[in-house]
Symmetry: C2
C-alpha cells in the first residue's frame, strides 16, 4: 500500500512520540512503517536487540512491538478525534505459532464502525474499551497473534 | 526468604545466561534476585529503561520480565533434571490491574507434583507443556498476572 505524504508525516510523528516517551521503543529498534486511519504497521529487526537463546525473536520483544502497534493505532485515533485521554493496555493474549527469524512485522487494523463506537462511548461515558488484534509476521508469513484490550479514560484536568 | 550460597550461585548463573543469550534482559536491567527448585524472583527498576508515557512501567517491559521469570524457572528445572531440551513460550495471557510505579517484581513458583509430571512427560514423549503463573508486583503490592504456557521438546541431536 502506498502512503500519502500526510500518512508518512503521521508515521514519523508517532515514531518520535514513542521514542521520546517510551525508551523501550528505542532499544526495540522500532520503526513506524505506516500509519493511517484504522491501520498501522510497525517493524523491528530480530538481530541484534531482539534475539533469544535460539537465535530467533525473543517472545518479550514480539509482545512489546505488537502492544505498541495496538497502542499507537488507538493513540492516533484519539488524536484524530481530538480527544485527550489516558490510554492503557488492560489485558492481552498472545499466541506464538512459529519462530520469527529475520524481521518482526506487527500489523493492526480496526473497522470504521468499531472506531466510531469506541469514540462515541468515550465521549458519552468518559471511558471506553476496545479489542485490537495484532498480526505478527516475518518475511515468511504470519507467525503470531496478539489480541489486546485497550482502555481509554478522559483526563481529569 | 533467605537464600543459600548454592541458590545465590544459581541465581547469578541464570542472570549470566540471560544476559549472554537474550540481549533484552540487559536493556530491561533485569536482576535474578532468587532462584531455587520450583521458585524464582526477578526484579527490574521502572525508570529509566522501563517507563511509559504515563511515567509508570511499560506494559511490554512488565510482560518481558514476567516471561523471563517463567522461562528461567523452567530452564532451571530442566538443568536440575539434566535434560537438554528446547524451551519456548507458546501462549500467554497477561492482566494488568494497576500501574506499577517504582519497581517491577516478578515471582513464579510451581509445585513439586507439577514439576515431576512435566519432567516425566518430557522423558516419555520427548515433549511436554506446562502452565506457569507469574505474579507481578511493585512495592505497594500485586499489580498484574501473566499466565504462560511453556513448551519443551528434546533436542534432535
Amino acid at each position: 500500500m502506498i502512503s500519502t505524504l500526510t500518512e508518512m508525516q503521521d508515521a514519523a510523528e508517532l515514531e518520535y512520540v514513542l521514542q521520546q516517551t517510551i525508551p523501550a521503543s528505542k532499544t526495540l529498534e522500532l520503526t513506524v512503517v505506516s500509519l493511517a486511519s484504522g491501520r498501522i504497521r510497525l517493524e523491528a529487526p530480530v538481530a541484534p536487540s531482539n534475539v533469544n537463546i535460539h537465535g530467533t525473536a525473543f517472545a518479550g520483544s514480539i509482545y512489546s512491538i505488537s502492544s505498541l502497534a495496538a497502542w499507537g493505532l488507538i493513540f492516533y485515533s484519539l488524536q484524530e478525534a481530538m480527544i485527550i485521554a489516558d490510554l492503557v493496555i488492560s489485558e492481552a493474549t498472545i499466541r506464538y505459532r512459529h519462530p520469527i527469524v529475520d524481521r518482526i512485522i506487527a500489523e493492526a487494523s480496526i473497522t470504521e464502525d468499531k472506531h466510531d463506537r469506541f469514540i462515541a462511548d468515550l465521549e458519552k461515558n468518559g471511558k471506553a474499551r476496545l479489542v485490537v488484534e495484532v498480526k505478527i509476521s516475518d518475511e515468511a508469513g504470519h507467525q503470531a497473534t496478539n489480541t489486546l484490550t485497550l482502555f481509554a479514560s478522559n483526563k481529569t484536568q
